[in-house]
């Protein structure tokens, strides 16, 4: 038992305490980002049935959800994750770079850069789209007020920022100064900077601040379902940024716990038609052709730009734009 004296007392009472790592693991832990709880709660029972049929074993899948950077740090500090399912490539990469929690080749280990599904920053506008928002250039108009979280603290908002930046670069022949001006204007149009996605939703929906909420397309749809599809509309811009949801085996933990087989099977399963269907029903875009065709009506055409193609890599983008004194700080203080 990986428990201390203190916890031993509690563990005796707490009958659900994790079993020790013997031959066949009874449970695995999926450490994930904060808004994926319902999605994985829907996938897990299906996988359990699939795994039971395949291996004859019962498996329980525990879920942990929080901001994915916080989760990555927790894993490095000892949170025993068998697999990670994040919404930030860098948060998986850090697990590969520091301490070898994840294989160096994790992005090649699974299809599509180890990202079973993807999304993009899209717009949520009020019913009837009163400000006529169609694309990124509408967001820098003087009469438009925006809501999205602070890019300093929110991964979600970093996508928005980089998408706008990439859009501006494309439309100004790669002129960096013009792109900075564009995102500067965009930031100055933000009515309120919340620290995270959920706070931004509250500002937009419950406090009725702003004309456009920018967040992942899947989240845009979740908000509409939650607060009324007749009260809000989704606007997908012509171009946006590809937001990957990378997954990986935490080999360091899984090998120790003997859960490599079932954990790998779980990750593979996320690419199966059955799982892809569930994922698509949660408004995430998937690669499986059959599922894609089935949900085609839900996902308008959009041209997606890769962070790697415009900014070199996530690491470079982070360093140039979001580090202390980076471009984000510069355009902010210039205002």
């Amino acid at each position: 038992m990986k428990k201390t004296i203190l916890a031993a007392v509690g563990a005796a009472l707490l009958l659900t305490a994790p079993a020790s790592a013997s031959d066949a693991p009874k449970e695995i832990l999926n450490v994930s980002y904060d808004i994926a709880r319902e999605l994985y709660a829907a996938i897990n029972p299906k996988f359990q049935a699939y795994w039971k049929e395949k291996s004859g074993q019962d498996i329980e899948i525990k879920q942990s959800h929080a901001g994915s950077s916080k989760q990555a740090r927790a894993i490095m500090q000892g949170l025993k994750a068998d697999i990670v399912t994040f919404n930030q490539v860098l948060d998986v990469q850090v697990l590969a770079d520091k301490g070898g929690f994840v294989s160096k080749t994790w992005q090649q280990d699974l299809p599509n850069n180890a990202s079973p599904y993807y999304s993009l920053p899209a717009f949520l506008v009020r019913d009837g789209n009163p400000k006529g928002i169609k694309d990124w250039n509408d967001l820098v108009r003087d009469d438009v007020k925006l809501v999205f979280p602070n890019p300093k603290t929110s991964g979600n908002a970093r996508y928005t920022y980089l998408a706008a930046y990439a859009y501006a670069l494309e439309n100004n022949g790669g002129d960096d100064a013009k792109a900075r001006e564009f995102v500067g204007k965009l930031l100055s149009n933000v009515a309120v900077f919340d620290t995270g996605g959920r706070g931004a939703t509250t500002s937009f929906v419950e406090r009725e601040i702003g004309d456009v909420l920018i967040t992942f397309e899947a989240e845009v749809e979740n908000i509409r379902t939650q607060y009324g599809t007749d009260k809000y509309e989704r606007v997908v811009p012509q171009t946006s940024l590809l937001a990957e949801f990378p997954v990986a085996l935490v080999q360091k933990v899984a090998e120790k716990r003997g859960s490599v087989d079932v954990s790998t099977a779980y990750l593979d399963y996320l690419y199966s038609e059955e799982a892809q269907d569930i994922i698509a029903s949660f408004n995430n875009r998937v690669h499986n052709e059959t599922v894609k065709a089935k949900y085609a009506a839900n996902f308008p055409e959009v041209r997606l730009i890769r962070v790697e193609d415009v900014f070199g890599s996530w690491e470079k983008a982070n360093k140039t734009h979001f580090a202390e004194g980076g471009v984000l700080d510069q355009v902010f203080t210039a205002k």
Partner: protein, 287 residues
Amino acid sequence: MTVSTSRPAITNPKVLALFRKQARKRALLIAIAITFALIVMALPVIAIFTRAFAEGLAIYWSNIIMPETLHAIWLTVLTALIVLPINLAFGIAASWAIVHYRFPGRRALQTIIELPFSISPIVAGLCYLLIYGSMGLVGSWLDGFDIQLMFNLTGIVLVSLFVTCPFVARELIPLMEIAGQDQEEAALTLGATGWQTFLHVTLPKIKWALLYGAILANARVIGEFGAVSVVSGNIRGETMTLPLQVQLLYDDYNATGAFAAATVLTVIAVITLVLRSAIEARHPHGH
């Protein structure tokens, strides 16, 4: 303030005017206090219950008996059950030592006990992670023995101990300072053992303060969010305490579930409040 009727009636207009002025002042102050209490305290509590029951009793109940919420309730109670006895024992020992003994580091101990009041719980949680996490000073050493302190019940208990550490000692120290140790000394000279002295002499003197401290500490353990959120690991159905569960449900757009869980927290808080008032009524003490 009531004027006794047996006295002759006051007819002096100046005095009457003064009375009226006082009455007005009184009414104004009472109105301000009540309005403030209503807006700041009562309304939010009413809102919790209104929202929780907005979709009917059946839905409220189904949200309460969700396995994850039940587990969160259990984990919260369990944490309190572990933390409180440790806290009581430590609180008594520390107060006794501080009040009755003179030793190097006594003042430092007194300050350290109060530290959790001035440190933000989130910072406390991060400090624990830095030291007891598997990359931390102590944690990395323990990791060699496959002992994990963070991201499980132990972690939650440890940070809860930290944030509640001052409550019992704070209640006891002033009391013990006033009471002195004459009675204990008398008991000891008359041949009582240390344990007997504690049980029959010390404990009766401090029991109300002890209980009072325990209740405050209990309220704090149950409601603690920041520190626990850092070290819990957020594993649903395993390391989610009630306050974490409330936030999780809210983030999932399950407002009813979140508020239903919040009602449980509120009920515990109200029970605590009632107990506290009852104790204060029976045993009013200095502050």
